[in-house]
Amino acid sequence: MTKDIREDIAWAKINQDVLKSLETPRPAYWVILAVALSVFGVGLGCEIYQYQMGMGVSNLDNPHAWALYIGSFIFWIGMSHSGTLLSAILHIMHADWRKPIYRFAEAMTTFSLITAALFVAVHLGRVWQIYYALPYPNERWAWPNWQSPLLWDAMAVFTYLSSSMIFLYVGMIPDLAICRDNMHSGWRKKLYTLMALGWEGTDRQWRNFRMTYLTVACFLIPLAVSVHSIVSTDFAVSQQPGMHVTSFPPYFVAGALYSGCAAIISLFIILRYVFRFEEYMTLPILRKVVRLTFAIAMVWTYLNCVEFAATWYGHDPAEKAVLVQKAIGPYAPFFWTMIFCGSVVPFAMMVKKWQTSIPIMFAVSLLLNLGMFLERWMIISPTLSHDYWPWQWDHNQWPSMIQWGIVFGSFGFFVTLFMVFCKVFPSVSMYEVKEMVYHRSLHSKKAESAAPEGFVAEELAVKGAN
């Protein structure tokens, strides 16, 4: 198969295939859901235990107060990036191969942001006082410090979460109308009827829809970049050695895109199998995503080199000590695993044959995400365990099982939300796949009528293969 999608798929069949995914997935769906729920249960149990016993059970201490919780927060924020950002960029650039895969990528954004937001509460310890984070004045009318990056962060994440949800929902309205028209009575029918808002596909609705979708996409691109660069200022604006780095904002954005793309590959492969989407989530589309991921991996690798070189050739002994600690200290195994997973493993994506190999790409995408998770941990723990003064050195800090349990639980939470979403809402955009099929078939017909006989088929085959 060389084309992104078959051009002769009937529109009715697209509806039928996608609607079928809402009813009868493969049994693997239920297995994944059950495992995710169990893992989430473990995390929930650990959080309840931590809530009752206090933060001591997580083995966090002063000055090592962040560790895996904030590392996971950055990881989940980062993972949220590729969904909406790539969807918006590719939409503006008219890259129509995004159409079969953007819906689940946007859902991934929404759920990973929700998961990230949980860690803000988890790492506070006093969860019942989470409302302190809201911007409201105290009894002396002093407001929170608006100059703090933590407050910018809250604002940016809230804006990104709500805008991403809106982007996801607006893009789904025509599909919800299809669901409304095809579902038998029951709670689903009521839900789709309510959410479709009476959509009928009139020219007036499409005209305004197109403008809205494009405008929101234009807003989301700078927003997504701002979110992760603001998250990076939580660290870069501080004076901590290893965190006070000028290149952190682009480094964070590249890392976020990288982990998001890797997650898209993993979820692409899972959804393709469990919902029988082989005709829509095709291997040529997988190849495009893989190539994009490889390009971002190289950007991330370059920015890593910039950071290391700036530290090594700089004149700050504390900065250099943290870097050396990372490379040969207690965190060395994780640091080198991060380098291996983030900078060496992606070279597997250069092998053309492997780019469309499902098992290899699945394994590679998981390794990339492991590398990106370690990267976030390596931003936080080595610095906090080796600060400016010897009394702050805390090399033996190791996250407790409770901390690990909550982090694993977050993966279960994310997968549960994501899989439930894909079962309730169409994870492939039906109307956009129809557009893709329609425009590509028109293009082929035009090319066929314009070119000499035999030439077009040959040219299209070459284009598809590339």
């Binding site: 608006w146 499409w206 405008t215 807003f219 109307y431």
Partner: protein, 176 residues
């Protein structure tokens, strides 16, 4: 005289385009193509706009208004909380620090832009809406619908045009 609604379904855009062009050039009494015709399609098809004629989109004005308003209000809110009478001593630093406030203003700007754009979409697209008098689920699947509203006396001529272009189905209903 009561209005009647007609909905004709076609297999593809080419057929629908021919019908629309003929309806626009026809002079049937009791039917005005500019106001009384709606095209329903399963996909967004920009070429539809070419054959039904130019129609304005005003969503972008909502965007401009929303982004500017919410961005400005956001900045005023943050600045006013910093400059209130009971604010803590700043030790010579600016009462309203512009660079950090710009970060928040930027986020408010985007927040307002997105929210009000979507509000504008709902207003301009007429959503949420009740089901129109004639609707076929086939339109959300693979057929193109042309719905017209006309005086009772014009329906025969309109049906004739629909039938001439081989409509797959013609539905009719008395309007409200």
């Amino acid at each position: 005289m009561s209005k009647r609604y007609l909905l004709a379904l076609y297999n593809n855009f080419e057929e629908a385009e021919q019908v629309v062009r003929e309806l626009r050039t026809s002079s049937i009494q009791g039917f005005n193509a500019a106001d009384d015709m709606v095209i329903k399609s399963p996909i967004e098809h920009p070429e539809v706009e070419e054959f039904i004629g130019p129609k304005p989109v005003k969503v972008q004005w909502f965007t401009l208004f929303g982004a500017t308003l919410i961005g400005s209000l956001g900045f005023l809110w943050v600045a006013s909380t910093q400059a209130n009478f009971f604010s803590q001593m700043k030790g010579g630093k600016p009462i309203v620090p512009i660079p950090p406030d710009m970060v928040l203003t930027y986020e408010f700007f985007i927040l307002g832009g997105v929210y009000i754009t979507v509000l504008g979409f709902l207003v301009c697209a007429g959503l949420p809406a009740r089901r129109s008098p004639l609707y076929s689920a086939k339109v959300s699947e693979d057929q193109i619908g042309i719905m017209v509203k006309a005086e009772e006396g014009a329906t025969t001529a309109l049906k004739g045009i629909f039938a001439k272009h081989k409509a797959l189905e013609i539905q009719e209903e008395v309007g409200r």
